[in-house]
């Protein structure tokens, strides 16, 4: 598997650390309530298809990258810096 780091270009998957769904970027306000927080920390859309998830270029530049990807085919559709990708 190859992933394109926005800074470094296409690299092997083994240079990256995987965290999980990119919804981790959408941190609720402290007082958003139990449901919003459960949703944020534990529940997942977990699609069989296109998803956005977070990868860290640990063996490279240290960028957190949002990868738009298909979980069924492993096709990588787009990569963006997490710092610029917050929804």
């Amino acid at each position: 598997m190859r992933i394109t780091c926005p800074y470094c270009g296409e690299r092997d998957r083994r240079e990256f650390y995987y965290r999980g769904a990119a919804t981790d970027l959408d941190r609720p306000a402290p007082d958003a309530g139990e449901e919003a927080w459960e949703n944020f920390v534990f529940l997942r859309e977990n699609p069989a298809g296109v998803t956005r998830d977070l990868w860290y270029h640990e063996g490279g530049c240290g960028a957190w990258v949002v990868v738009t990807r298909n979980t069924v085919t492993h096709e990588v559709l787009e990569t963006r810096l997490a710092s610029e990708a917050r929804s």
Binding site: R2, E10, D24, L25, F42, E58, S83, E84, R86
Partner: protein, 977 residues
């Protein structure tokens, strides 16, 4: 039988080798199988279940029968295909899965019991009595099963892993692959051409075809010479592309030195390649399939293509009196090749009623072979014709049921092949692997001309969107005969007709599976083990599928296939893992004091990837405890020195550094004064403790964070995530400086005395109070000093650039010794911290909260931080949680054990009564008894209570008093004094 003048072997070089202890000789270029056939050896193996005598079936890596063990001792290699292994002087091969010998195998008795050992028999029996499964049945089955044996010795051979990158990977160097590589190479693309054979050419080496009027192998040599001359083309023989992975990543195994048995200095036996290719052309050819008929597994019965390969490539006739059977024109080609070589062809049995006739050999049209005889080698076949059955004497039957395109690699990314009725075969489904274009026989195009044409076209298609323009190339002249086939899978009749030769799966087994409702192809496979042998069903799956389709009244395409999974051909574990043996498994990290510690006799122990000294033995000390106790007393009474460089150090700078730290720590850091250090607690977003450590404020916009050794990498990732992902607006940046700084704890009442000689200015409590930090000059070197303490003593940590670490450690250790102290190791460090109730990852093991470790109040109520909201979930701070306590033995037993569980004094030690567990224990030389830390339900409220520690594993029960986790100097006077 060797045929004069035939074959691509070097007859000037005779090579001796051994098989089952008998000395034979072959020629340079022979495989073990061709050389044995040339020597008249037909029996080469035994089948898996019934131990039926077997000969070679094929001439390639798909061989199911002729599996042998090569070599002995640590280099012994089981399950080597005799059809792939090239001979070399000194080669020693043995047959396997037989006892006492290949010729006389006692387990062949299984064959007599075959009626009771059919598909799935073991699911229906061996159940009584219950205890017999592990004691009797399973050991017998295990011993009878298996093929070859591992030596049981550690690997001694060298293997390598490598990377390669290219524009175009061409898989297979037959006519299609060679043409694809040639045109791509001429166009200037970076090309890798890989073929599993020992030389390029594929079927062109096995057939008598001509290309552009030249013998096929001559054309191959010319193309190869042109490719070799190109800098942009890499030719890889003996290289099997084993797997297809995402985004154009391919795994390939190169057999570097199996063929010559030599181990030249530094050269590996095998190399495991990771090839990253922008595009690929699959030119993997096709594999011939046998026909199932009664007793079709006798040595001497082989695929027609294999018979031609042995004849044309190796100059060996597989028999003296050959019969040919099948359903395509290939059988006639086989007969012609044999006749041309002077071999007698007894009959050609063509299942097609409209088969062509010949003047040169008898053709039996519309006939089928329905049986064979010959105990350990074929003697005769029985042929069924409309007119009746007929017995024909023969020592070799060349059979074909048609060809299966090698679609395997196109299925590795879940592609399903498409059934083509006209050629009775599965072909790749377009787009099955992104960027891969199939060409030639693997694409269902079997004529030489079609292969050449498709090779060119495939290279063009693959490279088109890379912007590579192909030169005009004329398609070489070659045969273009159409492929005409009449489906023929299994000849009806009594007896056992083999499908999966190695696993002994017969047509009856598949039919029985269908009767028992194992009708799904996956069910049939799993129930009968069809296709689960070392060839992964390459020889048998399609025929088995056809039999199942017939038995269930469905079509083949409706029945579907099982999934081909990587690897295409088996790959040794040693190759994929090359370099990871022993210490190569993970990197080793060494501190700057490593050598000095070793020189002082300290046993070094693993701490994550680091090595740290366990203790520093002194003359006269015979146990670790003696050294450890001394080192603890040394720190408590004089001064000790300990390398703490393995702790993670993260340099944090920027105007928003303080605000950032407030967000990742539970407590405040923006309010920390410059020149001060604070202990910080970090939570995960789910509210549990992630890590702890001290962070120093070195300047207005400059902090230095320390993490635990274990969590250094995780904390770095975490900080970057929180910054880039959650708070990108904060102006702050991070750099790991763990390896840039060597840092030493100098701890004990005499620590200040020790340091005073090294620093520019003497230390004072006024300038350097507890938790102060700042720059210092250490013997003229710019360093940093932190007045912090893990031991609970008056202590400092002193840091210098790593290049000065080794010399500073020596100086500190010597000075400490002069003051009655010395270096101390991990054991003493651990005792010192337990005495003070300081936690490590034994306590913050990912399931504990700030509340559990008594630090609930450290979660600031004035601000938000990572983990704060979730740490307030009811279950994380309510009654009944196991919380940190100290434990002191009070009963007869004085022993504490980490990992033991806690119970109320009078309770039975059963799970339902469990009250907690012990995390850290030590003998405290300071207090004169064992002490422990642990977690106990509602622990802080139970100080003074007696609980029972039970360690069922080690048979220890100890009554303990629950106490405050800080055993020593609870007021903290020493650290400030």
């Amino acid at each position: 039988m060797r045929i004069k003048g035939k074959g691509l072997i070097d007859r000037s070089r005779s090579i001796p080798f051994m098989f089952d202890g008998v000395r034979y000789s072959g020629f340079e270029g022979d495989t073990l199988a061709s050389a044995l056939l040339a020597n008249g050896v037909r029996l080469m193996g035994r089948s898996f279940k019934y131990h039926r005598p077997r000969g070679v079936l094929t001439a390639g890596s798909e061989e199911p029968n002729a599996l042998v063990t090569v070599g002995s001792g640590a280099s012994q290699e089981p399950n080597v295909r005799a059809t792939v292994q090239e001979i070399y002087a000194g080669l020693e091969a043995c047959s396997q899965n037989r006892w006492p010998s290949l010729n006389f195998d006692l387990l062949a008795a299984n064959d007599l019991a075959a009626p009771f050992l059919g598909a799935g028999f073991y699911y229906k029996t061996f159940m009584w009595p219950k205890s017999f499964w592990e004691k009797v049945y399973e050991p017998i089955i295990r011993r009878a099963a298996g093929l070859g044996a591992l030596s049981g010795q550690d690997n001694v051979d060298k293997y390598e892993r490598a990377w390669a990158f290219c524009d175009l990977l061409v898989i297979g160097a037959g006519p299609a692959g060679l043409m694809a590589a040639l045109v791509a190479g001429r166009a200037g693309a970076d090309v890798i051409l890989a073929d599993e054979g020992s030389r390029m050419g594929g079927r062109l080496l096995a057939e008598t075809y001509e290309i552009d009027g030249k013998p096929g192998h001559v054309w191959v040599d010319e193309v190869q010479a042109e490719l070799e001359a190109m800098d942009n083309v890499r030719l890889m023989t003996r290289t099997s592309v084993a797997g297809v992975y995402d985004q154009g990543t391919y795994a390939a195994l190169e057999r570097v030195h199996h063929h010559d048995g030599r181990h030249p200095h530094g050269a590996p036996l095998e190399t495991f390649w990771r090839i990253v290719a922008k595009r690929s052309v699959l030119a993997a050819g096709a594999l011939e399939r046998p026909v199932a008929f009664r007793d079709n597994d006798r040595p001497g019965i082989m695929t027609a293509g294999a018979v031609r390969a042995y004849l044309n490539r190796w100059g060996v006739s597989a028999g003296k009196n050959v019969t040919v059977f099948g359903n395509t024109d290939d059988i006639h080609r086989t007969a012609r090749d044999l006749l041309a070589a002077g071999v007698h062809v007894a009959a050609v049995i063509d299942s097609r009623h409209d088969a062509p006739l010949s003047d040169d050999y008898p053709v039996l049209r519309g006939a089928q072979v329905c049986g064979s005889s010959g105990r350990k080698g074929l003697e005769a076949i029985t042929v069924r014709r409309p007119s009746g059955e007929e017995r024909i004497q023969t020592d070799c039957l060349a059979m074909t049921g048609g060809w299966n395109p090698s679609v395997h690699l196109t299925c590795h990314m879940n592609g399903r092949p498409t059934w083509r009725r006209d050629i009775a075969a599965f072909v790749p489904t377009p787009g099955a692997v992104p960027g891969m274009v199939p060409a030639g026989a693997c694409n269902g195009s079997f004529s030489t001309a079609a292969c050449l044409r498709e090779g060119i076209a495939a290279a063009g298609e693959a490279l088109a969107d890379l912007g590579v323009k192909l030169p005009e190339v004329a398609v070489p002249e070659a045969e273009d005969t159409p492929y005409e086939i009449a489906q023929l899978w299994a000849v009806p009749g009594k007896g056992r007709a083999w499908l999966d030769f190695q696993n002994d799966v017969t047509v009856k087994d598949v039919k029985q599976a269908a009767v028992e409702n194992f009708r799904s192809v996956e069910h049939m496979k799993r129930y009968t083990t069809q296709g689960m042998a070392t060839d992964q069903g390459k020889n048998s799956n399609v025929a088995a599928l056809a039999v199942l389709a017939d038995a269930t009244g469905r079509g083949i395409s409706e029945t579907g296939t099982t999934t081909f999974r990587p690897p295409y051909a088996p790959v040794s574990i040693a190759a994929i893992a090359a370099g990871a043996e022993g210490r190569g498994f993970r990197p080793q990290r060494f501190t700057t004091s490593h050598k000095a510690s070793v020189a002082r006799g300290a046993p070094m122990i693993e701490a994550g990837l680091w090595y740290r000294p366990s203790y520093f033995p002194k003359p006269g000390e015979t146990t670790w405890r003696q050294s450890c106790d001394r080192e603890v007393r040394m720190v408590r009474e004089a001064v000790g020195v300990c390398d703490v460089s393995t702790l993670g150090k993260i340099d944090i700078q920027g105007p928003d550094a303080g605000a950032f730290l407030d967000f990742v720590y539970t407590n405040m850091f923006s309010t920390l004064k410059v020149g001060r250090v604070r202990y910080g607690l970090m939570l995960r977003e789910d509210g549990y403790v992630m890590d702890d450590g001290t962070t120093a404020r070195l300047g207005q916009h400059h902090y230095l964070m320390t993490t635990t050794t274990a969590a250094a990498g995780d904390v770095m990732k975490h900080l970057e995530f929180v910054h880039q992902g959650l708070r990108p607006e904060l102006d702050v940046c991070f750099a790991s400086v763990t390896e840039q700084w060597a840092q030493f704890a100098v701890a004990g009442p005499k620590s200040r005395d020790l340091l005073n000689g090294l620093l520019e200015k003497p230390l004072s409590d006024e300038e350097w109070p507890f938790m102060a930090c700042g720059p210092v000059k250490v013997l003229g070197v710019e360093g940093r000093l932190f007045r912090i303490s893990f031991s609970g003593e008056h202590a400092y940590e002193i840091a210098v650039p790593a290049r000065y670490g080794a010399s500073l450690f020596d100086i500190l250790a010597e000075r400490a010794e002069a003051l009655g102290g010395g270096p101390y190791g991990m054991e003493a460090l651990n005792v010192l911290r337990i005495e003070k109730g300081h936690i490590t990852h034994a306590e913050i093991h990912g399931r504990t909260t700030a509340f559990d470790i008594g630090m609930g109040r450290m979660v600031s109520q004035k601000k938000d931080c990572i983990g704060k909201t979730m740490s307030e979930r009811p279950g994380l701070e309510e009654e009944g949680r196991e919380q940190l306590v100290g434990l002191k033995p009070v009963g007869e037993s004085k022993q504490l054990l980490a990992g033991a569980h806690l119970y109320n004094e009078g309770a039975e030690p059963t799970r339902v009564n469990d009250q907690g567990y012990v995390t850290s224990v030590c003998y405290s030389p300071t207090l004169g008894h064992m002490i422990g830390l642990g977690f106990l339900a509602d622990g802080p409220e139970r100080h003074g209570e007696t609980v029972k520690m039970v360690d069922g594993l080690r048979g220890v029960t100890t009554l303990c008093k629950v106490v405050d986790p800080v055993f020593f100097d609870p007021e903290g006077g020493r650290v400030r004094g």
